[in-house]
């Protein structure tokens, strides 16, 4: 479903993604883990036609995001790491916009929007503007929107960040069901290791733009003599804090917030 070979992305003289390769089978739930600034989001952006790779090749559902971006766009859905709602539209309008853009016929669209908004507990707030929502409510709306059309592959970039445990479990139940029923491939990143351990069939760990390990959670634990995936993760990526880039993302978020006022 996804095949990546020798993929590289540089920003100026900084290499964010350094010659990585992996593949994800159809119907697989695949976790892409790594410390802050490892290159996860950059990789997802290249897979989803938002960034052009510096070198290497990608196939998503058999199509190359550089050569045939539209074919690729038809095959995936995505929940972005940072905010991507239209703040001036209501929750319902954000959903409706997405549904129309993704060719969902009206009856199905209306029904799913209702279901999903109930599902993320926003149905009674459906006519409120997105800008009036709390961070977690916005996140829930983004998740509902990402689940609205049922794509072949769904990319989730830290989908559960800032979500309460109820919503988090809910979301995974829904995704696992979708995965079982429709064979949807799920590609996600997270910093919660137990979450990856629980739902992912296979895990790749990326650090400083390089893939340092790949396999099932159990294989990684065995390989590093660890009891939990978190221990395995730490022994593969070291214990130093990658605060430099964490700070950068934080700062961007803060700036965005300040700017909005």
């Amino acid at each position: 479903m996804i095949r990546v070979n020798n993929l590289t992305k540089t920003f100026g003289d900084f290499t964010a993604v350094n010659d990585i390769g992996f593949s994800v089978k159809p119907g697989e739930i695949f976790a892409f883990l790594g410390p802050n600034g490892a290159g996860k989001t950059t990789t997802i952006k290249m897979l989803t036609t938002l960034l052009r790779p510096t070198a290497g090749s990608i196939l998503v559902n058999g199509n190359d995001p550089v050569k045939s971006p539209e074919a690729v766009r038809r095959s995936f859905g995505i929940v972005f790491q940072d905010q991507s709602l239209d703040d001036e539209l209501t929750a319902w309008e954000n959903m409706e916009f997405h549904g129309v853009i993704y060719d969902l016929p009206k009856p199905l669209r209306r029904e799913r929007i209702r279901q999903l908004l109930i599902f993320v507990d926003l149905w009674d707030k459906k006519d409120r503007l997105a800008k009036e929502f709390s961070g977690g409510m916005k996140r829930r709306l983004e998740i509902a929107r990402g689940l609205l059309h049922h794509p072949k592959v769904i990319f989730l970039d830290e989908p559960t960040l800032g979500l309460d445990p109820q919503t988090r479990n809910h979301m995974w139940e829904y995704l696992q069901e979708l995965n079982k029923k429709e064979g949807t491939t799920v590609f996600f990143t997270t910093h919660y290791m137990e979450e990856a351990d629980r739902v992912a069939q296979r895990v790749a760990i990326i650090d400083h733009g390089k893939i340092v390990a790949m396999g099932t959670s159990d294989e990684l634990k065995k390989q590093t003599d660890a009891l939990t995936l978190e221990e395995a993760f730490l022994s593969l990526t070291g214990k130093t804090i990658r605060d430099e880039s964490a700070k950068a993302t934080d700062m961007m978020r803060r700036m965005r917030r300040a700017w909005r006022k």
């Binding site: 960034l51 539209e70 995936f76 972005f80 239209d86 001036e88 539209l89 853009i101 700017w259």
Partner: protein, 250 residues
């Protein structure tokens, strides 16, 4: 399906506009101020020079002013979308980027046309009289063409800019000159050579000229010429706009 998608993109622009009262009022207030201050200020000089009623002459220029400011601003909303992240949602949509650009441009152009119409009506309260009321119908077409032209230009510029900083630069060093050098405020007859060449290079001149031709029967370039230039430049900017919009990375 194609129409549905264009429609929802169009609708989004309209809704955003209707929800920002301050933007509506703001973009009417400035042209209105120009109309009143200049219109009454210069009316006697204009009359003495044998040019007739200045408010009537000025009104099409003021309509053009409202249209160019609103359309460039609407086109440049791409920058806001980038800043707030919504641009990503549209850029991964399974439809040609040209259609995305088209939908939002039509939305922006509709808004600018409505602002132009409101200014036209407001001008009538201050003495603006078209020769024949029926001329309003073709004038609407011209206004929409102007709006389309400048919305595409705004989209094109915004696609090339990374952040908000460039926005004020564009407003001050592109939109202001386009407005002042367009013949919105003065007749195009008997201009000094250089100025006359510059006004000829400004697409806004042709839009306002066409409006004067239609409303007042006093054009300079001729209606046919105006329409040809407006149409060609609109097509050019739509093409360039979608070219640069296609190349956006986030």
């Amino acid at each position: 399906m194609f129409m549905n998608k264009i429609y929802i993109l169009w609708l989004r622009q309209i809704k955003r506009w209707l929800r920002s009262r301050s933007r509506i009022v703001g973009s009417l207030a400035q042209p209105l101020l120009f109309l009143l201050a200049l219109g009454y200020g210069f009316s006697s000089i204009f009359q003495e020079a044998g040019q007739g009623n200045y408010i009537t002459f000025l009104a099409p220029g003021i309509i053009g002013m409202g249209i160019i400011f609103t359309s460039i601003f609407s086109g440049m909303e791409v920058i806001w979308d980038r800043q707030f992240g919504f641009l990503k949602e549209t850029l991964v949509a399974p439809m040609p980027r040209f259609n995305i650009m088209l939908g939002r441009t039509l939305g922006g152009a509709t808004i600018a046309t409505i602002q132009g119409v409101i200014l036209m009506i407001l001008s009538m309260f201050f003495g603006f009289r078209p020769e024949h009321l029926i001329s309003i119908v073709p004038a609407l077409g011209v206004m929409f063409l102007m709006a389309l032209l400048f919305t595409s230009l705004g989209t094109m510029i915004a696609s090339l800019l990374e952040d908000m900083q460039g926005f004020h630069l564009v407003m001050n060093f592109l939109v202001m000159p386009l407005f002042f050098l367009s013949g919105a405020l003065f007749p195009l007859e008997g201009l000094p050579k250089t100025l006359s060449i510059i006004t000829r290079l400004d697409p806004l001149s042709y839009g306002i000229d066409a409006l004067r031709e239609l409303f007042l029967g006093m054009g300079h370039y001729g209606l046919a010429m105006d329409l040809v230039v407006l149409t060609l430049v609109t097509l050019l900017f739509l093409g360039l706009g979608s070219y640069f919009f296609k190349k956006i990375q986030v």
